[in-house]
Symmetry: C2
Subunit: 324 residues, 2 copies
C-alpha cells in the first residue's frame, strides 16, 4: 500500500479508532478535491453531528497556537477527543505552510490530533476545504473541533467567524485590542482571551476590551448572539487560564444550543459552503476563458490600452454565460 493509498472506508474505521495516519491521509484526499474527496464526503455524511466547532483567532503573535495547545491538554484531561485544524498563512508564491507553530503545539498536547492547512494562495480554497475536513474530523470521533486562523484577512476572519463559538485572542500592549476592534473581530467574538496576562499592560488590555464592548453595546454593535462575550485572562506560556477558556467555550455552546442559535449558525455555515463552492466553480470558468484565445486577445487589448479593464471584463462575462 502506498503512503497515501488504502480504501477510504477502512481508513475511516482506523481513524475512528484513533489512528492518526489514517485520518491524515483522508484529510489529504479532502484537500486535493476531485473523486477521492467526493468518496470521503459520501462516507462521512452531511454534517458535523454533535461536534462543537470552535474558532480561535487573533493577530499574529497573540499566542494563539500556544493557547490552543493548552486547550487541547485541558480537554484531553477531561477525557475529550479534541482536534485542531490550523490555517497557516502560506506563501502566495510558494504555497508552502511553515511548521513552527504546529511543532510548538504538538509539544504541549501529544495525544491530540493537530492538522495544519495551508491557505494555498487562492481565494475560496480554504472556504471550500475547511467544512468537509471538519465533517471528517467529527466523523472520526473528535469533539470539539478547533479551527485556528489569523484574525486579519477577510477569508481567515470569515472562517473563524463561521464557527459555533468564536474565541478571540489578544495580547497586552501594541494596541492589539484596538486593532482587533478595527478589524471587526470584536463583533465576531463569543469568548475573549487576554493572553500573556503576565505581561505589563494585561489589565489595560482587559479594560480596553470592556470599554469597547460597552461602546459597542451603546451603538448597537453587540455580539451576534446578543450575549456579551466573556473575558478570560490566560498565560499561554504556562497554560494558566486554559481550563477557564474551555469552561467559557462550553458555556457559550450550551447557551446557543438552548436558544436555537446553534442550529442557525450551522445553517449559515452550510449556506456559506455552497456559496464558496459556487464561487470556486465560477472562478475556474473565468480563468479558463481568460486563458483561451478570445480571453488572451482581450487581455492583450487591455495591455495595449485599446480597451479598459471594465470593457474586457464585460466581454469575458458574456463569454462565460454563453459557454457550454
Amino acid at each position: 500500500m502506498s503512503a497515501t493509498g488504502g480504501d477510504a472506508a477502512v481508513l475511516l474505521v482506523r481513524a475512528r479508532d484513533g489512528h492518526r495516519g489514517s485520518l491524515g491521509r483522508l484529510i489529504s484526499r479532502v484537500e486535493r478535491g476531485g473523486d477521492a474527496a467526493a468518496e470521503v464526503a459520501v462516507l462521512v455524511g452531511p454534517d458535523e453531528g454533535d461536534a462543537h466547532v470552535v474558532g480561535v483567532t487573533g493577530a499574529p503573535g497573540a499566542g494563539k497556537s500556544s493557547l490552543t495547545g493548552h486547550l487541547l491538554a485541558s480537554l484531553q484531561a477531561e477525557g475529550r477527543r479534541p482536534a485542531v485544524l490550523a490555517i497557516d498563512p502560506s506563501s502566495p508564491i510558494t504555497g508552502g505552510a511553515m511548521l513552527g507553530d504546529r511543532v510548538r503545539m504538538d509539544g504541549v498536547a501529544s495525544g491530540a490530533f493537530v492538522r495544519s492547512m495551508a491557505t494555498r494562495g487562492h481565494q475560496g480554497g480554504l472556504a471550500v476545504a475547511v467544512p468537509p475536513t471538519l465533517r471528517l474530523l467529527a466523523h472520526a470521533g473528535h469533539d470539539p473541533l478547533i479551527v485556528e486562523t489569523t484574525g486579519v484577512g477577510q477569508v481567515e476572519v470569515d472562517i473563524a467567524g463561521a464557527a459555533d463559538t468564536t474565541v478571540l485572542v489578544v495580547a497586552p500592549g501594541w494596541g492589539d485590542a484596538v486593532q482587533a476592534n478595527k478589524a471587526g473581530l470584536l463583533e465576531l467574538a463569543d469568548v475573549l482571551v487576554v493572553n500573556k496576562a503576565d505581561r505589563p499592560g494585561a489589565r489595560d488590555a482587559r479594560r480596553d476590551l470592556e470599554l469597547m464592548l460597552d461602546l459597542g453595546h451603546i451603538s448597537g454593535l453587540e455580539a451576534r448572539s446578543g450575549r456579551r462575550p466573556e473575558i478570560v485572562m490566560a498565560i499561554s506560556t504556562t497554560g494558566e487560564g486554559a481550563g477557564e477558556v474551555v469552561r467559557a467555550i462550553d458555556a457559550h455552546h450550551a447557551a446557543i444550543a438552548a436558544s436555537g442559535e446553534l442550529a442557525a449558525r450551522r445553517a449559515a455555515r452550510r449556506r456559506g459552503e455552497v456559496t464558496a463552492l459556487v464561487e470556486r466553480g465560477l472562478r475556474a470558468r473565468a480563468v479558463e476563458v481568460l486563458a483561451a484565445g478570445p480571453g488572451r486577445a482581450l487581455l492583450d487589448a487591455v495591455d495595449a490600452g485599446a480597451m479598459s479593464p471594465a470593457q474586457a471584463a464585460a466581454a469575458v462575462l458574456r463569454e462565460v454565460r454563453g459557454g457550454a
Copy 2:
C-alpha cells in the same frame, strides 16, 4: 450643488489644482461604482501614467501608518505630490472603517492627500476599487501613490504585492519578521523597513531578516525582481530613516524601469484587475441565482440534509451558465 454633486470634468480640473474636496468626491464616485464611476474612468484614461505605485504593508502594530506619514513629509520636502490610499481593515458586520490611524497620519503631513478605503467585507471589492482610484490619483497629478494595507489576509497581501515597489514594515520583537516570512510577505518585499528601530531587538530583527533572505536565496525564494531587498532602519515616532526609505523606493523604481520589469508588473496588475472584475460579475450572478426560487430550494435541500453542498453548488453553476 450638493456635497457630492458637480460635473466630473470640473471636479477633475479642480483636483489637479490641488483641491482635495473635489478629488475626494471623485474617489467616492469610483468607490460606489456604476455609471458615475464609468464617467470618471473615461476622463481619467487607461493607466497611471508615470506615477510610481508603492505598496506599504506589514503586520498590525508595525507602525505602517506613522511611517507612511513621515514618508509623505519627506516626499513633500522634495517638492513631490504624494498621495496615500490606506486600506482599512473594516468590520465584516458594520462595514465601517475606523479613523484612528488616518488622523495620526494627517497630523504628520498636513499637505498630502490621504484617503482611507474600507475593505467593505466583500471579497473582490478592494481588488476592483483600488486600480481605478490609483489612476484617478495619478491623473490628479499625484506621484508617488502609496497604497497601505495590512500584511495579513490574501486580498490585502495581493494588493500590496501588485505595486511597482512593495515596502514591508516589520517591528522588533514578537517575532514580527518570522511571522512576515510565514505569511509569504518577505518574498513580495522590494524594500524592508525595520521600524521602531529605537526599541530593544531591532538589530535582532534585522539579523532575522538577513538570515531569512540568505535562506530564501539558497532555496530559490528570491525577491520577484531578482534583486535582494534593501533593509532600512527607521523610527516611526520621530521620522528617522524616512528619507532613506524614500531613497530606497526610488532606487528600486529606477532599477525595475531600466530592466523592463516595471512594464511587466503593470501588465500583471492590469490582468489582475480584469480577473477581479470578472470574478465580481460572476459572483453577482451567483448571488442572484442563490436568492431566486430555484437557488433557495437548493439551499433548503442542503439544510434538510437531502443534498450535499457540492451537489447544490453544481446545480447552481448549471443555472448560472444557462442564465440570460
